[in-house]
């Protein structure tokens, strides 16, 4: 029932996502703004100070990570709506175990983030990134790991909220700092010491570094460290999300408005 439950939740979310597939295009706006406006402006002022490469290819993996991060978070936010109304009540009284709901949500969010990443990927060519076969395959793998990480982060956080009004706060107070500290827009190698230390605690930093390394061969972290860190983060956050969903057994009011996973 666990696997079938996960599958059912993923199908539900992907069917809904497909209704909003225009979002895949709208979701291009933010990354392309960073890539071609910020990237062009800052890149031209920095000249050749990036240690050989030009700026746009350097930030491309970071921008890719950004689009995945926001897509995954947005997917996770649907949990809050789900709790309040609709089909999810039918899910709650079905024999699907609560952990399967959490895992399905993480899988669906990761899938959506991955799709968004694939839509951004062709712009590598415009950014002047060479897309060789080997690096591209490595990047696709790193993107998958990044998607799952961001989705697990989103679900573990969103599962605690009962209202969507906090989303802009979370977005500004958590997502953007994580993005800025990740070294997505500047090399961590030359960053101040405290920023390098902060990056060690930032899941986004590992994800972006792994994607950049895959594509350009330039790593800040040892790739094995990144792989290990991301795997550990995924495991931890998934465990956390499952635990939160599991606690929600005596909770779902049929009146739906006060519905709280946590009770």
């Amino acid at each position: 029932m666990m696997l079938r439950g996960i599958y059912a939740v993923v199908v539900l979310d992907m069917k809904r996502f497909w209704l909003d597939r225009a979002r895949l295009i709208a979701g291009l706006a933010q990354p392309l703004l960073y890539l071609f406006v910020l990237g062009a402006g800052i890149g031209s002022s920095m000249g050749g100070s990036m240690g050989g490469g030009s700026y746009k290819p350097f930030i491309f993996p970071g921008v890719l990570g950004l689009s995945q991060l926001f897509t995954a978070t947005f997917a996770a936010i649907t949990i809050v709506f789900d709790r309040q109304i609709g089909f999810f009540k039918a899910v709650l009284v079905s024999p699907v175990p609560r952990p399967a709901i959490a895992l399905g949500k993480i899988a669906a969010g990761a899938l959506q983030a991955y799709l968004q990443g694939l839509v951004v990927l062709p712009f590598a060519w415009l950014a002047g990134v060479p897309l060789g076969l080997g690096p591209t395959l490595a990047l696709l793998g790193a993107m998958a790991l990044a998607s799952v990480t961001f989705s697990a982060m989103g679900v573990a956080v969103a599962a605690r909220f009962t209202s969507t009004t906090v989303f802009p706060i979370v977005s500004n107070a958590v997502l953007l700092p994580m993005f800025f500290l990740s070294g997505a827009l500047y090399p961590l190698m030359t960053a101040p010491r405290w920023m390098q230390l902060a990056a060690h605690l930032d899941p986004v930093a590992y994800a972006v570094d792994l994607m950049r390394g895959a594509l350009l061969g330039r790593f800040f972290f040892n790739p094995w460290l990144s792989l290990g860190a991301l795997t550990a983060i995924i495991a931890l956050l998934t465990w956390l999300a499952v635990r939160i969903f599991n606690r929600g057994e005596d909770d779902s009011s049929l009146g739906a408005t006060n519905f709280n996973w946590r009770r």
Binding site: A90, S94, P95, S253, L254
Partner: protein, 342 residues
């Protein structure tokens, strides 16, 4: 097995040895902090029965319903559905239940067919089987034509039918309906219930809550619930027979004086303040006498068969609230005094 719908009081005696009851509730208590929503509920629903749970808002209907639907856990006592405990054997119970909620539980933006397909997947059907089952149910409920449209584009009646279809995807032995027809017009309600009757005829147990008296009348038995307790549990006929005879309602220019006069002559009047209600073995015969001798001016008089609402009023001293269809025209009871008593 399609057990004959029990109609006698003997039905109260659960024949636990042979078949497990469809629903069996013992000493059920649910507290939310200080508030005691259920204060010791006992009831047995037999297999194949149509069982109605009736009561005003806040009586504990939804809490009881949620516990039986495995969405809440009781504070004390036990509840079993088809012999399975709703707490310790939750998953088994979930597999057996078909539930129609008061609020919509379909994904409005997806088509009816997609909704049912997903439902099948949630209950572990392989995709092809879920698809087949969805089409089967859609045809059975006459929804096949509109099944491709997003649910939000369907009429209110069709959407409710889709909810029923969703509950039926897994071919449940028990159907739980919580105010399933709330807000529908009379035609749509009738259409909905004709399907439910058809389901009940095939031996399924139907356990439902409703505000509409004429819907409750189709039940084999009714439990009246008030302030977290069952105040009466019987067949509709037996419940009404408790009133003994019929009901006279009077509106006069001085109800207080009329009440005193009536009480002085040994008539049992009801405490309800909005108008005078009295129960008599032969109301039609006694009414002319009353009209002739009452010392106040009678503005309106009516005689009717006792309704379930009257029974409830008699048992609890208050009406149901404003949302019942069978209230006599102009009958102002159930207004401000209908609820809100502590």
């Amino acid at each position: 097995m399609p057990a004959a719908a029990p109609t006698s009081d003997l039905a109260n005696v659960a024949d636990a040895a042979t078949t497990p009851s469809a629903v069996e509730v013992r000493g059920l208590v649910k507290r939310y902090g200080e508030v005691e929503a259920l204060r010791g509920i006992d009831l047995t629903v037999n297999t194949g029965e149509r069982f109605a749970l009736l009561g005003p808002n806040g009586a504990g209907k939804t809490t009881l319903f949620s516990i039986l639907a495995t969405l809440r856990t009781p504070t004390a006592g036990s509840a079993r559905v088809l012999g399975r405990d709703v707490v310790t054997e939750r998953d088994a119970v979930r597999r057996e239940l078909g539930i129609v909620f008061q609020e919509p539980a379909i994904e409005q933006r997806l088509s009816g067919r997609d909704n049912l397909l997903l439902m099948g997947l949630l209950y572990g059907l392989p995709t092809a089987a879920a698809r087949r089952r969805a089409d089967e149910i859609l045809t059975q409920l006459g929804l096949a034509e509109s099944a491709g449209r997003p649910a939000k584009n369907l009429s209110g009646g069709q959407r409710r039918k889709l909810e029923l279809a969703r509950a039926l995807v897994t071919d449940p032995k028990i159907l739980f309906l919580d105010e399933a027809t709330l807000g529908l017009d009379v035609d749509a309600r009738r259409g909905f219930w004709s399907h439910v009757r058809g389901l009940a005829a095939t031996g399924r147990t139907v356990f439902f809550t409703t505000h509409y008296m004429e819907e409750a009348e189709v039940a084999d038995r009714i439990a009246l619930i008030d302030a977290g307790r069952i105040v009466a549990l019987d067949t509709p006929r037996a419940l009404k027979a408790r009133l003994g005879g019929g009901v006279i309602r009077l509106k006069t220019d001085d109800d207080a004086q009329a009440r005193t006069w009536l009480t002085g002559r040994g008539f049992a009047t009801d405490a309800d303040a909005a108008e005078l209600m009295l129960v008599h073995a032969d109301p039609a015969a006694v009414l002319p006498e009353l009209l002739r001798h009452l010392p106040v001016k009678v503005l309106r008089a009516e005689v009717h068969e006792p309704s379930l609402d009257d029974v409830f009023l008699k048992l609890t001293g208050r009406g149901f609230g404003s949302e019942h269809a069978s209230a006599p025209p102009g009958g102002g009871r159930g207004g401000p005094n209908g609820r809100g008593r502590p």
